[in-house]
Symmetry: C2
Subunit: 98 residues, 2 copies
């Protein structure tokens, strides 16, 4: 049992980072504003969660412009996708008491 719990990824215990990841795994590039509005977060809060995901190489950041407005977009890395999958597997095992 303990080993299953340890397979849960600490970074994904947060509902917000779970939300970010679940959006990113099904969308190619998602921008800051979209995440902010979809998840209804303050700028600072979202930025810090994104930062923790970036620091662990779970997401890529792309800074650019749309028209002349700055735009920051995010996508999940291969590592992030793999870790997320592992986390979901662990969750499933835990819940089903395998």
């Amino acid at each position: 049992m303990k080993d299953i719990i340890l397979r849960l990824n600490k970074l994904f215990e947060s509902r917000i980072r779970l939300g970010i990841m679940s959006i990113l795994v099904v969308n190619d590039w998602v921008d800051f504003k979209y995440l902010k509005e979809t998840l209804d977060l303050t700028d600072g809060n979202l930025a810090s969660h994104l930062h923790s995901l970036e620091k662990n190489n779970y997401i890529h950041v792309r800074k650019g412009f749309i028209g002349r407005k700055p735009n920051t977009s995010f996508s999940v890395t291969d590592v992030g996708r793999k870790e997320f999958k592992l986390h979901l597997n662990a969750l499933e095992r835990l819940i089903k008491n395998i």
Copy 2:
């Protein structure tokens, strides 16, 4: 999306409380020692997590003896079972981006 995230139960974001609940939903009464050993926790840590679950009426506590040794057992309440189920449903919806 935000509404799904809000359906995730804050109390179940913790891997340990998730572990406790997943044990309790499939066992009638589970004692302190078993939980402690299965989850590999210190007494204090386990006690505090159990306390938070009890405070929210998610678990029952039964104090008694086995032979002459004190024994504390826990079981999930109807509320706890229901909330856990709701949490898992929310998790599933979030992950599947419904």
